[in-house]
Amino acid sequence: MAILLEQLLNGLTIGSFYALIALGYSMVYGVMKLINFAHGDLFALGSYMGYTLLVWSAGAISQRFGLWGGMAAALLFSFFAVGCVGVLMERIAYRPVQKSGRLPLVVSALGASIFIENLIMAIWGPRYQAYPASVVPVHTISLGLFNITAMQLFILILSFMLMLILYYIVQKTTFGAAIRATALDREMATILGIDVGKITLFIFFLGPALGGMAGVMNGMYYRQISFVMGWNYGLKAFTATILGGIGNIPAAMLGGLLLGLIEMLGAAYISSAWKDVFTFLILIIILIFRPTGLIGEKIAEKV
């Protein structure tokens, strides 16, 4: 029983990473109908940004502001830095291509992804890097039946908070309504006076920024980062987006958490080596029976 709870906890933690990245995918897809393949690499970039801040400042920030202060600094730094990169990417790689249709956008996204991944390698080198142990809390808390590490708790709390905030913004505010309107019908939104440019700016800042934060959290949790880490997470997060129903932001969060759980349970009770096969099979089966994802997207097609 304790083991099951442990696995569930791990599944939720991994799922949080997926969920945060999936949010970015979903937002961008909703507004631009683009699968931003570069998103996973932005996650990796965030991880490196946090690492850079912590290591190059030689732990000075941690010393001055304490452990949690150092982490907060890394998170914020990554949030803003990657957000800016996201906006830049949209300007350079996506906006000029958008008028040409969806498929060229995909190729552009693939190109951007390869570019960013290799940029990371060019700047930071191909070696694996590690978040130093001194900047990360390492205590474990015992909660009766099972243990939870401080990092895990922190990640879960922070991720859920972020998701709640985003959910609130998207579903309950006027601005969120504008986002959803733009996602449904961009042209109509423009006609109605919605500043689509501002919405795009917001989306391409926030999505990557969240992904960047997830990258820092990931780096702090596992302490190991490399320039290839983006691809795997990106693919899983994309899968999670589809699982929930693309274009639907709350669904993406759910898809991410669910995917984390499925993966962990698959690894635990089926086999580690076949874990990913299992995950993809589940996805395919779900899509066969619910072609628009578990929760489903909100797009209607008039005949």
């Binding site: 795997n232 690894a267 580690s272 990913d276």
Partner: protein, 389 residues
Amino acid sequence: MRKPKAFTWFCLCLVLLFALIAGHEAVAQEKPIKIGLQAPITGQWAYEGEMAKNSVEVALQMIEEKGGILGGRKIEIVIADDASNPRDSALAAQRLVSQRVAAVIGTYGSSVNEPAADIYEANKMIDIGYGSTAVKLTMAKERKYFFRTCGRDDVQGEFFSEYAVGTMKARRIAIMHDNTTFALGVAEEAKRALKQYIDAGVAQLVFYDAITPGEKDFTPILTKLRETNPDIWYFTGYFPEAGLLVRQGRELGIKCPFVGGNAAINEDFVKIAGIEYAKGCLMTQEPMPTDLDTPKAKRFLELYRQKHNTVPTSPWPVYAADALFALTWAIDKAGSTDTDAMLKVLRTGMEGCEGITGSIAFTDRGDRKGIIYKMYAVTDKGEMVVYKP
């Protein structure tokens, strides 16, 4: 009809450009001694490729310090990137063949080495592998021109099993790998060597499974491992995962000794696992440069540290450097870059050739002779010393 015509001409121009470049290469002449280095400069194993390149360059510097070969002739290293995939490997091999290098050092990864080795064989070019340990490479078919300075999966695997059961008196053995060619190879050989003990009723294989490389969360498989209550845990994969495994495993309560293969434990491993978990970990390793008293090893480390502020974090780059030593020895002794003469030396004339990892000599199948494995342990300071049980 304008557009298509323009494009057809455009394509023709592209094709001509391509031909010009191709033709130009075909005619290139060489004067210094060219030695090829095939390595993964880009791609998943880029860091290995980078270290290999650096190591070979340091080795070259050491050779030139000693006056070079053939009366001081210049040696040029020609690098071919194989990006760790078979297709690019074949192309890289072809490229080096076309550039008429004297011999090749390469490459990293057995499945990547295979097509390259075939091409070198077909073109009668000597290839010394430095990061390909699959038994198949030298045993599956006759390869006159293929050698390797690194060990072989079976030797390492056997060593582990014998040491674990014989010296450490472990009864319940757990073996974990990551489904890559190298790790699986060593794991399979360890399993095979264990069989005699299993049959004699002296030991049991309680766990044999693979993790997925590139992943970070191993708690499910580690939980399974914990439940099998092993006496010793052998992981044959690479240090990024090894570091995570040890940390997560210890946090989950796995207490038995952790033994890594020779790709699992290094400086980066200590960083990733954290010193509190890394200390006390063991590994099966050929003699480390830091261990060897040879002047070459000391000089190599010194120079490498000077240039790159660190030392190679895996064994393979050091083997690449040794391959250069072997080749230059052969050229020097043969008096020329004639392949047959070089071959003769490599086969029978290696007496006295000293590399960073010790004396270099080859079996009649091209494998490295005399690789002895030892069990090493990580100290409190994160250094690796010979283990005394």
